[in-house]
Symmetry: C3
């Protein structure tokens, strides 16, 4: 009997830390304006994450202005964590503008699989061709229509390895780079799989660490192709989590020190 | 002349710390999925509070999915701090689903008494039979229709003792356990009143400590009956506030250390 | 060639620190109820800022209740950072109530100039006669219809000095006190310009420091005339930023310590 990671072991390559650092440095030098249509829970948190990392966030989601604003942005983030009709309309308008303007964008299908509404919104957004899809294993499996994803609210019960096959199918079907995050993160670009190790389990006790990863993918998309952007952003997350965990005394101080660590590089 | 607490002194029993700790431990062991329909101000904060305490929060409030999601949840929290039509529709759908499925749920009637809209929404929600109502003294008095509650925005000017009579009436009328929080918290189950002492006044300088208490009541409702769940959650709040206040240098560090303390507690 | 600040140097007076401290002390003694209709990103942050500084915040924005609640409040804050139709309706209802009741209020035109929708909402709100307009240089220039404001999302690329002329025009046209914040803040009341120096650049790495300044202007408006309130609030921000920056190790700890510093005065 083999584990999923053993099954794919010959296809997985380790990430290039120096290349990732170069992308992060380029993002910081550019300070790209990132349009961030995200959920109510993490708006403050992801704005602070983007600012600390060196990007310039703008939370603009009203359907009256989301598409117009996309013309000013260097990248777009769409996160479906909390939905309502106006937000969904803004997401669709912005995603359509991104497609038309060839603006790179990243989709975070939070909680897909949990309700029919989430499934429909996620499927509609997939139609606009995201550059990257970033999610946990359960969400990737739900999005790929693969059975076996034990979805538990917005947390994932499955290790990230369990979603590699689903991620490959999803990447092949959509053309997007698929980033599955977990104890080890996997960035899947067609047949190529890059593993990003590291981080710290205390991240799971802070809401929105996955959303933060998605936001940072958005920032890096402004300066790098999708696969390199995803690897760079996830590597930045892992390193900041490691640094913060060294002196944190719990999830509260961890979250604060994580933001500090993002700013230190 | 006697104070309200003197008046009820013979009816008030001290809480059982060991029983409360047992409930919290059971909640942590189960890691229940808690559907949390709460206000915009505290979504991030209460998600982090629930995660730190060991529960699994899900903020799902859209009317298109709130009822469907309730089928996955182990408990439901409804907090009316910030309202709009879509949120209210989602609250009603989720509360109806909770009633139909016998899912335990807790109502936080933030700011009831301040506007006619809040009064109407709170009254409508009461009709779905919450297991627990958690509020400050002014809100409990407003909700009970008792004159004399000097309501000041979302803060209470009255000591929690002032609402014991109103709380008893509200508990009798609705069948809910009523939790009045303040310097001392009182959990009222029909004629039985349990006092939960402790905590620290700096809690009042942090927004959403009441909302956090409500969210933790929700988490404990997944593993214990209403009265025991309310006592356990309020006791956990009090102990975490005491621990955080020992090293905090102000409300900013207090909030951070409070989250740390919940995870240790 | 002269810089904008040199051009206006003879018109700029230094602020009176003692007078500013008196206003802040009066606000703290009164603990005014401040209705805060603000954006999704900073609701938690500005509520905590107001509580730490000694005010009593209430986030009430639903069109069903925003005007009714204004009758209870001592001052009103309207911040257009994130918009949707219901929020905008609530803003207009509250602003109309403030005008009718002569309730002092402050407008934060976040991101004005970036989209037609923002420009329209900001122009409509101006019609209700804000007591103070608080914004960064790019936003003040956009609001004044002055060319040359290089607007970048919600951050400003122009030094605050660049907006002094636009601020004077805006103050003359609207009768409002105009507060332009940046490395140095300028409070413009007709022909009078007061400079508030100090602060720390790390503030720019935390989302919502401008929004926090606006919220504190609102709190001070409850106890002082517009010009004095603006100067006092901006001075409080500057001093708290200086105090927090002394021990912060990055933007995460800075934000936490900034809240502590506000509570210490």
């Amino acid at each position: 009997m083999t584990s999923p990671s053993q099954h794919f072991a010959d296809q997985i390559t380790a990430f290039d830390a120096a290349a990732a650092a170069t992308v992060v440095a380029a993002m910081r030098a550019d300070r790209p304006l990132v349009q961030n249509i995200t959920n109510h829970v993490v708006m403050n948190w992801t704005a602070n994450v983007l600012l600390a990392a060196g990007a310039s966030p703008a939370m603009v989601h009203a359907p009256e202005e989301a598409a117009e604003f996309a013309a000013l942005a260097r990248a777009l983030v769409i996160n479906i964590g909390t939905l309502d009709q106006a937000f969904v309309a803004g997401m669709m308008a912005a995603a359509a503008a991104a497609r038309d303007r060839k603006l790179p964008w990243v989709l975070d299908p939070v909680g897909v699989g949990a309700t029919a509404y989430r499934n429909r919104v996620a499927a509609d957004l997939l139609g606009f061709g995201p550059s990257v899809i970033r999610a946990n294993a359960g969400e990737i499996m739900a999005l790929a229509g693969v059975a076996g994803g034990a979805q538990r609210g917005v947390d994932s019960l499955s290790g990230s390895e369990a979603a590699i096959a689903a991620g490959k199918a999803l990447s092949a079907r959509t053309g997007a780079v698929v980033a599955v995050t977990g104890a080890t993160d996997y960035v899947i670009a067609g047949a190529r799989i890059t593993a990003v190790p590291g981080g710290h389990p205390i991240s799971q006790q802070v809401t929105g660490t996955g959303c933060a990863a998605t936001a940072l993918v958005g920032a890096c998309l402004a300066v790098a192709p999708a696969e390199a952007a995803a690897v760079a952003a996830l590597s930045l997350m892992k390193r900041a989590a490691e640094a913060a965990s060294r002196t944190a005394s719990g999830p509260g101080t961890f979250a604060t020190l994580f933001v500090d660590a993002l700013a230190q590089g």
